[in-house]
């Protein structure tokens, strides 16, 4: 156990996987030599440590980066490739959706694609071509698994599970967490299984399911609400596919109230799935209408006051839950 930043924890998972298994390699734009020297960057130092055969800086070619992963994984390697920022994944989606996710199915189970695609998410001042939460796209695709950690220990443990998972896994890393969230991280090959949510704050009045940066918003809201006598249960989903429906549903059966929370936009966001799931499965136990908290249906704005307007805040969570209880 030692305290690491989220970025460092991801880096230690990558390094460990490479040490353990020669078939693991990394590729991406600037993952070896980067323009930014940041101690919390997950790939920092790996080129120096593992050499350019295993840590490949690529041309600016997102489709080829994904294609590299698909082709090489089918040959038995375990590629871990990076798509620099989430909206750039649009350039790689044919490879991800029509190939990584479908070629095993089309082969009748003869081929497999043990690849991992890392991408950096988060709201930051570069505008909507750099910042766009598209997780509900990926979760809609049978054949993909989707992981979305919120803290160092999970980020490390989920990354290890993803790399050694025999199927394609997309790991969404909230970049702002790299340096803002530090925590105890177990040493060695300690994995967090895909498909197990974590109840990060126990409560009895309302169930809130979330992931990534928003987990920290929810935890702050839980504290504020506790002061007002409202007991919030916060579920950190950790992996969106497979989704730990059992944990969500049993919590809702206990509390009778449900809220989803994410930084992605609302319409057809992952919260729609969560609310639909809960409404279909726990209708008799629900005491009040389920609610989604999400970003408004606009692109991520650039300028500071509008970025704040966009981001779901502690205040909005607190207020929404007040309304539910009232």
């Amino acid at each position: 156990m030692n305290v690491q930043s989220t970025g460092q924890a991801i880096g230690s998972a990558l390094a460990l996987a490479m040490e353990m298994d020669k078939s693991v390699f990394l590729a991406g734009e600037g993952i070896g030599t980067s323009i930014i020297v940041n101690p919390h960057s997950p790939t920092r130092g790996l080129l120096e440590r593992f050499g350019p055969d295993r840590v490949r800086d690529t041309p600016v070619s997102e489709a080829a980066i994904a294609g590299l992963a698909v082709g090489a994984s089918c040959m038995g390697l375990k590629p871990v490739v990076e798509i620099m920022y989430f909206p750039f994944i649009t350039l790689a989606l044919d490879m991800i959706v029509n190939h990584a996710a479908k070629l095993r199915y089309l082969s009748g189970g003869l081929s497999s694609f043990p690849l991992t695609i890392r991408t950096k998410s988060g709201i930051f001042a570069a505008g909507c071509q750099h910042s766009h939460h598209l997780e509900s796209w990926l979760t809609h695709i049978p054949g993909l698994k989707v992981v979305y950690p919120s803290n160092p220990a999970d980020a490390k443990g989920l990354m290890l599970s993803s790399i050694f998972d025999p199927d394609p896994v997309i790991v969404i890393e909230e970049m702002p967490l790299y340096w803002t969230i530090h925590g105890e991280t177990p040493d060695g090959d300690v994995r967090v299984p895909l498909g197990q949510a974590n109840i990060v704050h126990h409560g009895s009045d309302v169930t809130l399911a979330t992931y990534g940066r928003a987990v920290h918003v929810a935890l702050k809201a839980a504290t504020v609400l506790a002061d007002k006598g409202i007991s919030l249960e916060v579920i950190d989903l950790r992996s969106l596919v497979p989704l730990d429906t059992a944990t969500i549903l049993s919590s809702v059966r206990k509390t009778g109230r449900f809220v989803s929370l994410h930084d992605a936009t609302r319409f057809c966001g992952f919260g729609a799935e969560l609310v639909a799931l809960v409404s279909e499965s726990c209708f008799p136990e629900l005491k009040t209408s389920p609610r989604r908290i999400a970003a408004p249906d606009i692109p991520v704005p650039f300028t500071q006051p509008q970025e704040e307007f966009y981001k779901p805040s502690v205040e909005v969570v607190v207020q929404t839950i007040h309304e539910l209880i009232a």
Binding site: A64, L68, G71, A72, Y105, L106, S107, G108, G109, P114
Partner: protein, 327 residues
Amino acid sequence: MQKQFGHEQRLALLSNMVLIRAFEDKITELAQVEGRLPGMQITCHGQEAIASGVVQALINTDVIVTNHRSHGHMLARGVDPKALFAEIMGKKDGLNKGKSGTLHLTDPSHNVLMTSTIVGASPLLAMGAAFAQHYRKEHAATCVFFGDGAAAEGSVHEAMNMAALWKLPVLFVCESNGWAGAQPHDEHCPVSRIVERAPAYGMVGEIVDGNDVEAVYHMAVRLLNDCRQGRGPALLECQTYRMHGHSENDVQHYVDKAELAEWVKLDPIIRYTQILREKGEIESVETLEKQAKTLVDEALAFADASPYPLPEEAMDHIYVNSFATEG
């Protein structure tokens, strides 16, 4: 590492073409019968010399990545015609248990590991496979087939660029058959030859008569050797003609009949038969045709006898496992 080239090899070049033709003639025939074959049927009629010539130049550890026009590549590689036919029909005993149909035929036991019908995708998959060969320092190459139409896709550019940059052992085989669907070459490509691309990547590029099976074979042998020796990828353009419609339900209403007739004269099977007869290596092609016909009839019988997979088996083969296990 130069492969032998004698009578046996020549006979194989011809008999593979004959088998492909026989197999696909049966497809063409059944495609006319309502309800006999599901979906669209795509043949390489007239392009058999490319499949036969290139595939015979491969060594066992070489990988093939093919596309929507794959029968020729599969059969030349030795894939079981029975399993192929059953797959084309969507049957349980098909190569891919009915999951692929004709468009994504995959046979890892013959190093055909991933087949895509997304035009332009195969070169990217091949680049990735060749990366693995290179990473593991295997003395092997990946051979990818794509069309002149596919060359317009950005993915083909990215694949060539990355393969050339990293000197990956990929042989890019462009089957320039003059068409992309109903669009003739000059409506979809600003230059008459795809091989003009090679210098843009500092890559070796060669062009051959794609209806001359020996020419194709020898050029493929040379380029594949270079690939395996670490000299980087190469582009081989094979000039040919798509003798049938894009698919068997395409009546070629847009095709110049005279142009088509000219190409009939260049039929690769007739041409090579003549050459081998002149050389005294065979008496006629009929024995080979008979053997091929028998194989195809057996394949069809096998396919017809095979049941459909169960409906609920549609749920299989999406994931290797649904939940990762603790380490």
